[in-house]
């Protein structure tokens, strides 16, 4: 065999191996997707949207409590997290810039926090807000000046919707902060100069010209951030906990689709497991929808 023949053979081999590994990877993912769709569609019916949780065996059990709880948790953390993320991103891009050391440290830390284990954030929020026996509570909050600032007196001792919302917000802010920062930097400097030349103060330039100029990009970041947070389970396990019935009081434990899914799927009852699949299907479609919407937005922006 000549050298050339050998090279061609090796090339063919690698092409086959690589296509094969792609096929294996994609096959697994299709498997998961089909399982999700088949079980999900099988489990979905009107009862799910009408009824709350019920003991196993009851016909009239549904996911109304978890759907509404999920919407509340995601909605409120979006309302808090989005403005915080956008304003912090605006600081990085407009006041900090690329050369500021502080801005770069904040960028690095946010990048790391985006991939940090979300369960640790749940543990952290638990310690800060819920845990009445905690070292912190004993040594700080209950005794000295910090007590006025802490959430503990009002919310301590019980899992609560607020704790879940705070955990989700901590996860969401770095994502929105970094996309806003990146998107604002794409706004041409001449646009800012034009606004300054008209005599506009800086805050007006930022709010009414720069952020507005980058609004599609920021919206994409918001959609991706919300999508990411919607699928979080681990940080809710010991913060918002769970509830089998509809609850809209945020100082009480509140149901979420993800934790409900976890509890139902690990239960031995078939009808609960079925509800778990329905929850999985609804949540995945929501998240995929947000992702596709974000992509379409980016796409139309690029076309312009």
């Amino acid at each position: 065999m000549t050298h050339t023949e050998k090279r061609i053979l090796v090339n063919k081999l690698v092409m086959i191996l690589s296509s094969l590994s792609a096929a294996v990877g994609i096959a697994f993912l299709l498997w998961i997707l089909s399982v999700l769709v088949i079980n999900g569609i099988d489990a979905i019916n009107w009862n799910i949207f009408i009824y709350e949780g019920a003991p196993p065996g009851y016909e009239e059990s549904g996911l109304k409590h978890a759907l509404i709880g999920q919407l509340i948790l995601i909605g409120v953390s979006t309302l808090i997290g989005v403005p915080l993320g956008i304003l912090a991103g605006a600081y990085l891009s407009e006041y900090g810039g690329l050369k500021s050391k502080l801005a770069n440290v904040i960028r690095d830390i946010s990048d790391i926090m985006m991939s940090a284990p979300s369960i640790v954030i749940g543990v952290f929020v638990y310690a800060m807000i819920i845990n009445r026996d905690s070292f912190l509570y004993d040594n700080w909050f209950s005794q000295n000046i910090w007590s006025g600032l802490s959430f503990s007196p009002a919310l301590a001792g019980s899992f609560s919707g607020w704790a879940g919302i705070i955990a989700l917000t901590i996860i969401m802010v770095p994502i929105i902060l970094r996309t806003t920062d990146d998107m604002l930097q794409l706004v041409p400097t001449t646009l800012r100069e034009a606004a300054f030349a008209l005599g506009a103060p800086k805050y007006k330039v930022i709010l009414q010209v720069v952020i507005r100029g980058a609004k599609t990009g920021i919206l994409t970041g918001v959609l991706l951030g919300v999508a990411r947070v919607s699928g979080e389970t681990a940080p809710l396990l010991f913060t918002s906990f769970n509830d089998n019935f509809l609850n809209t009081d945020l100082s009480e434990p509140i149901a979420s689709l993800t934790v409900t899914m976890f509890n139902y799927a690990t239960s031995p009852y078939e009808d609960w497991q079925k509800l778990g699949w329905a929850a999985a299907f609804i949540l995945s479609m929501f998240i995929l929808g947000l992702n596709i919407l974000g992509r379409l937005l980016l796409h139309t922006r690029k076309k312009k």
Partner: protein, 284 residues
């Protein structure tokens, strides 16, 4: 008036931006303070002792740490070749018609919440492992495989992005010299994208080690060093997810906080290393 508003806006955005640093610092600080009783009680022994007995107030994290390392290592061992294969396929081999739909579906799969991968693993993968190897089907092997599948889309997408940064002109020059596709991949694309590929892999490792929901369903949460690869085991996030809500006594709690601190430090260090050593900002 404008001057005042300007200053106010500057300071308020600055303080919000600083809040991110404050929260990160607070996570380290609070976990440390909460873990302190366990640190005082067990010291360094906590990390190397295998005894996890809440009823005896003895806590050792060694099985959880070993379980985290083994399950992540197994997942990386399975996912790295597949991810590189998928990335090569997407960036160099696939015809233009396939590239975009396959690429987008891989990216969308990376967005599916990990709890769903865990659920799939429990209902569809555990029985297969049980039939093949006997035992419960729940354990290290299953956890490693489910983790590998969960991390695969993310890893493949980032690796492909790194490979796509290779300028076409470099590849074309290599083809013009008579290189085969494999020659171009191994002598041009991979060397050019090396930093990005390694960075992507380490970032995926950092995510995998802190992943909770994909493995909680299928690992078993048994605080023992697994002797067989099919044995039930535990990992730090699995122990936290299973035990945190039911821990009652102070030292038990504190030990779980210690575990969380260990996990946070490890994954923070891994992600930071990937970022500073391999993934430079602004290169998109």
């Amino acid at each position: 008036m404008n001057k005042f508003l300007d200053k106010f806006f500057h300071l308020s955005t600055l303080s919000i931006a600083l809040l991110t640093l404050l929260v990160t610092g607070a996570i380290f600080g609070v976990l440390y303070l909460e873990a302190k009783p366990a640190m005082d009680a067990f010291g360094f022994d906590f990390l190397v002792s295998s005894k996890w007995a809440p009823n005896l107030e003895k806590f050792g994290a060694f099985p959880a740490i070993v379980g985290s390392i083994l399950s992540t290592a197994l997942a990386m061992f399975l996912a790295i070749p597949l991810a590189i294969g998928v990335a090569i396929f997407l960036s160099e081999i696939a015809p233009a018609k396939l590239k975009s739909p396959v690429g987008v579906s891989i990216e969308l799969l990376a967005a599916i919440p990990s709890v769903i991968y865990g659920m799939w693993g429990l209902f569809y993968f555990v029985p297969i492992i049980r039939d093949l190897f006997g035992g419960l089907g729940i354990g290290l092997l299953t956890a490693g495989i489910v983790l590998a599948i969960m991390i695969l889309p993310f890893m493949a997408a980032v690796t492909r992005d790194a490979m796509n940064t290779t300028p076409d002109i470099l590849k074309e020059s290599a083809y013009a010299l008579g290189g085969t596709k494999w020659d171009v991949i191994k002598d041009v694309v991979i060397p050019y994208a090396k930093a990005g590929i390694i960075g992507a892999t380490i970032l995926a490792l950092g995510r995998a080690i802190g992943e909770t929901m994909a493995v909680t369903f299928v690992m078993g949460n048994v605080h023992k060093i697994p002797l067989l690869i099919t044995d039930p085991a535990t990992s730090i996030p699995v122990a936290l997810a299973n035990e945190f809500a039911e821990a009652d006594d102070g030292l038990y709690f504190s030990s779980l906080f210690y575990l969380a601190l260990v996990l946070f430090v490890i994954s923070f260090a891994i992600i930071a290393f990937a970022k500073f050593a391999f993934l430079k900002r602004g290169r998109q």
